[in-house]
């Protein structure tokens, strides 16, 4: 079975989600040839498809990669880009790098957090937004930077952020 067939199946929910997820693990691990340096990429590829990393998926990865479960668990909980909990439909990331900080990024993120009623790392109750903070995206000249669903927005202000989020919701 090819990876894109699995992708389509997950979308259409043709089979039981859990079974599909474990198939995804096998295919992704195979594509990366079980190489240890690819572990983070493997987990991210799986996460991109499944949405997050549930425990049975991680256990399967441990088996396929021939690594102990505590090792996989320590890697999955060590790196901020890996989520063991389901994420919101939209991800709002604020860069808190120095250049952005000096231009007020922290205050903007706090305002947005207050608006959504969540702290960085959390997801809104309605499952719409996950708020994240990142320590420098490397786009310092256009700071403060906000990334909404993978798209970069420069020279942010609290007002603009609120507008963009409202547009996103609708």
């Amino acid at each position: 079975m090819e990876l894109n067939t699995v992708d389509l199946a997950i979308e259409r929910r043709e089979e039981e989600p859990q079974v599909m997820e474990l198939d995804v693990v096998d295919l992704v691990v195979k594509r990366h040839k079980q190489k240890p340096w690819a572990l983070i990429s493997i987990l991210q590829d799986i996460q991109d498809r499944v949405g997050y990393l549930p425990s049975d998926v991680l256990k399967r990865v441990a088996g396929e990669m021939d690594m102990s479960i505590p090792q996989i668990y320590s890697v999955a909980t060590f790196f901020k880009s890996l989520n063991l909990k389901p994420q919101g439909r939209h991800t709002v990331t604020f860069c808190l790098g120095t250049a952005c900080h000096v231009r007020g990024a922290g205050k903007i993120m706090t305002e947005v957090g207050n608006l959504l009623e969540i702290e960085p790392g959390e997801t809104t109750e309605d499952g719409e937004f996950t708020l994240r903070a990142v320590n420098c995206l490397g786009a310092c000249a256009i700071g403060p930077v906000m990334v909404l669903d993978g798209k970069y927005y420069g020279k942010m202000s609290a007002a603009r952020a609120k507008v963009l989020l409202a547009e996103c919701r609708s």
Binding site: S55, S68, P70, I72, Y73, T77, F78
Partner: protein, 229 residues
């Protein structure tokens, strides 16, 4: 592990005393041969050294005494001649005292933290006290991984969120219930304090909210239950 044998090759000087050791001997082991016991919290003979608490820090010179830098004696191995070590200078005492203060501020109810603090002369704590029951020494993780092969414990999280945990924070399927973790824990965080009144258990194992999350008893089931009186 090293043993001093007739053909021991490398001379090392520790606090003025000279001793000859095999290549690869750690400073901590070499010091023991001179009768010097360097304090530490995360070291246990028989398990691989970890270098996490840094309380075993010593000064080392590899240029004949011109310059000294600070290293952890449990992990620093002797691989050359003429290494000079100083284990008890004002610089080292200053380091150990602050580390002890940090440790006891984090885990005041853990016995070894109190012991180290007392030994280092800490009589006031200038930080807001927390009440962690685990000092993250990693001995339980290492005994499980290296000696027992249980693969039931590991570190999770990062930084101030770092914890010792069975995978997915639930009871591990591969735990062998060997009790190794319990036996090496320097904090003796096991809440079971045995029998308080004849015929009565302390009862803590029956109150999960009193058990710190990483308590190995959480993974094994309280011995009280398994070994009723």
């Amino acid at each position: 592990m090293s043993v001093v044998v007739a053909q021991a090759s490398l001379p090392v000087t520790i606090d003025g005393a000279q001793v000859s050791v095999d290549k690869g001997t750690t400073i901590m082991e070499a010091a023991k041969l001179c009768g010097i016991n360097i304090p530490g919290v995360c070291y246990l003979e028989g398990l691989s050294p970890y270098g996490a608490c840094r309380i075993c820090s010593v000064e080392v010179s590899t240029d004949g005494g011109e310059t000294f830098r600070v290293v952890a004696s449990c992990t620093y191995e002797i691989h050359r001649e003429s290494v000079i070590v100083r284990t008890d200078t004002p610089r080292i005492r200053r380091i150990r005292k602050m580390l002890a203060e940090l440790l006891v501020a984090s885990a005041p109810n853990v016995k070894i933290a109190q012991d180290i603090a007392a030994r280092m002369g800490v009589n006031r704590v200038r930080f807001e006290m927390e009440d962690n029951r685990c000092i993250l020494c990693g001995l339980c993780v290492r005994i499980c991984e290296e000696q027992m092969g249980g693969k039931a414990l590991g570190f999770a999280g990062r930084g101030t969120d770092r914890v010792v945990s069975p995978p997915f924070a639930t009871k591990s399927e591969t735990c062998l219930a060997c009790g190794g973790c319990d036996s090496v824990c320097p904090g003796k965080i096991i809440p079971c304090q045995g029998i308080k009144v004849p015929g009565e258990l302390c009862g803590k194992c029956l109150r999960p909210e009193d058990m710190p999350f990483c308590c190995p008893m959480g993974t094994l089931g309280c011995f009280c239950e398994r070994n009723p009186l």
